[in-house]
Symmetry: C2
Subunit: 247 residues, 2 copies
Amino acid sequence: MTGTTHPPKDAPELRFERPLTTVDLVVFTLREDQLQVLLVQRPDRPKEPFPNDWALPGGFVDVHKDASLQACAQRKLKEKTGVDTPYLEQLGSWGGAARDPRGWSATHVYFTLLPITGVTLQEGGNSQDAQWFPVDSGVQHQTLAFDHAEILRVAVQRLRAKVEYTSLPAHLLPQPFTLPQLQKAYELVLGRAVDKSGFRTRMLAASFLEETGPIDVGAPRLAMGYRMNADQPLAYFPRTFSPRSDH
Amino acid sequence: MTGTTHPPKDAPELRFERPLTTVDLVVFTLREDQLQVLLVQRPDRPKEPFPNDWALPGGFVDVHKDASLQACAQRKLKEKTGVDTPYLEQLGSWGGAARDPRGWSATHVYFTLLPITGVTLQEGGNSQDAQWFPVDSGVQHQTLAFDHAEILRVAVQRLRAKVEYTSLPAHLLPQPFTLPQLQKAYELVLGRAVDKSGFRTRMLAASFLEETGPIDVGAPRLAMGYRMNADQPLAYFPRTFSPRSDH
DNA sequence: GAAATAGTGTCTGTAAGACATTATATT
DNA sequence: AATATAATGTCTTACAGACACTATTTC
């Protein structure tokens, strides 16, 4: 380990301009019967780009605090939401000369799904205002800071695609949950109804759920409660959901 | 555009240490009836990490040459292979304090599939020796430079997973190709046989192929030639390949 | 016509979609 | 008992897998 200084003194061949390196988060939750995403408002200070615009939470990698990109994402998530998420997936990276007026920059984007119940939005710090926005309220096409509108669009697309053949939406619910609740989560994310019978067969066949006993969720009848198998953060189904009408 | 200098003079709040930013490539091809991957040998020079070890082709982002990460990947691919690939997908990014002895670094990894016929390996430059290695010859578990063994493992996993439900292997063949050739490409990537009848139905149903007329590929009988639909770099199948025996 | 490969047809199995029906709780 | 929701059953359809069969070319 030679140790890197800024500017690097010990390695002449490394004396070239380095891009800025950031990590951004796309945090999804279910709130008010809608799929929502967490955004923060850019500060209104001199030299800060996109003042007052909404942006994905995130920021610069701190080479002294963060052992890795994933660790950096976890840290930022914890700072904003107080949550240690069990599911954090890399969405991809975006980098170029034009995306940040401060210079050539590359961001590593992670996305996560959280039950709203576990979240307590942290005020202050770099993110004056953190706020939830419904994904289908036009946020995707509003002018977010940087290229975050594009990133959010890709994130939503990836989420919806993946929900068609994985157990992802289970992470949106506090445990234990019932199958009707899980089905509703799927329907809210996909934006369409799903057949109950097929849904249940499919979920139970994937064996990523464990029974926890009947639950009263305010319905006339008790429903079986389930929690996710601890060792299986994500189950893959043999086919995608796809209504007949598509063909 | 404020313009970034090194060190930045105009933005006190940006005077922190920046990670190194690189782009690496996982280049797959079909060669000698095997799935192979392109590796380059690390130079044996003072201050260069992992001297003589094999590594994925790639290198530092050049903020003056490269408009974006994708452009950087295209440039490096062209430099090494002389190819302008029609298919370049981001695999993900790897970053951390420990992966490069020169300091905190993050690499953005792209992968591509090429017909071997179009490639002419470029000698000299930063990559003394570029060479093809069969994926299943233990390269995945050899000690590659940096964390490239891990990256390669993920790339192979992603490729094999995606081949189960997409038209990816078509990019491994020079056009036009025949369906038997395409099937062989699938079988080589997947490492198992695939049923002919189902395969053909599936490929033709996906309608990403255009007939180009019968071809003589040295077989006793002519076969229909196909090329990929120009506007469809990747077709998705409704289900994955999966032999009965799995269930 | 023998041989080898290209291409097609038939049967079966799996799992989803559609929708009807039964079960269980509350009022 | 009425009602609302939970859970199950039945029928159909799509499409892959297995495997047998036909077609076309060269020798």
